[in-house]
Symmetry: C2
DNA sequence: ATCGTTTTCTTGACTTACTCCAGATTAGGT
DNA sequence: ACCTAATCTGGAGTAAGTCAAGAAAACGAT
């Protein structure tokens, strides 16, 4: 949040990221380092949040670059993408272990939940319908503490706030 | 798929839908009946597919009307909306029971999976972080039979087909 | 240290899947 | 049959992300 870092390109602040990128066969670039570095301290951020943070550090970074970085890192497994229905995608550096998420229906706030079961795919469908199942994604939907206190209980349907457009 | 029905408004083909709408406090309209009726025989259809099907039956129906119907019915629980990451939302009439889904990463084909556990929320997170958990959504990701045979194994990262844009 | 190749970043248009708005239309109780 | 609220129509608007072409870096070899 508070950019205590100087304006100059501080590409080496997190040697981790550098190493990880190399190991994954990706080139080490300032935007990539900045994304990985910042995301390590701010899990579950949206692409937009990442872009803002990275720009604060590096100056100008194109939206496209941010998406490219996020996609490339996700592809090689350095990042994990979570896409809760109705909310923009969120990214986290905690990838690889198989943990799940708790998502607030209202504000989209996302928290980690350790896997209830254990190893991936962690659950088995009773009938796979011929599919080759690769992963079980578990999402717990609810209301975060903040949204709970701000009224608007999601209990029964039809409260005047998500009311179609009548 | 084959509209064996005559072109005229066959609003009564599915007395079920009529009854359900009334019970839910929604007005009985031709688009609503058509949507519910068709969807009953074509689960996991996208809004676009629904629109096409409904137009085949009723002639002109606005996109907005389709979305309104889908949203209204979802809101009162006559329909369930599934929104797999990276794919448009899908709708099904099997709502209320708590079953899960199997989604093809490639083509988005969706199939039902009966709940492994039982009653909602069906799973409990170890630590709710202060959230009021309401539902556990389980999505099994994989490849459907068709996409499996069309090559493109999703096994390891970086095969030339989802290659960012290099 | 410099070069050349390959990957990555920039700019900016475009797409998809929806939602919003204002006004015309219609359902259904009385 | 009427009235009024609920529902549709048509068209613009939005959010989130993708595509494309060329400029600029990064890496490896010289």
């Amino acid at each position: 949040m508070a950019p205590t870092t100087s304006t100059r390109d501080n590409a080496d602040r997190r040697p981790d990221a550098r190493r990880q990128l190399r190991a994954a066969g990706l080139r080490v670039t300032a935007p990539r380092l900045a994304v990985l570095d910042w995301l390590a301290g701010h899990p579950h951020a949206t692409a937009d949040e990442v872009a803002t943070a990275v720009r604060e550090r590096l100056g100008t970074v194109s939206t496209q670059a941010v998406y490219d970085v996020l996609n490339a890192c996700t592809r090689v497994g350095l990042l994990r993408r979570i896409e809760p229905a109705g909310h923009p995608a969120r990214f986290e550096t905690r990838a690889g272990d198989n943990h799940h998420h708790l998502v607030c229906r209202q504000c989209g706030r996302t928290e980690d939940v350790d896997c209830v079961v254990g190893a991936r795919p962690c659950l088995d469908p009773s009938d796979t319908a011929g599919f080759e199942v690769e992963e079980a994604e578990v999402l717990f939907w609810g209301l975060c503490p903040d949204c709970r206190s701000t009224g608007a209980a999601p209990s029964s349907h039809a409260h005047h706030e998500e009311e179609g457009r009548a």
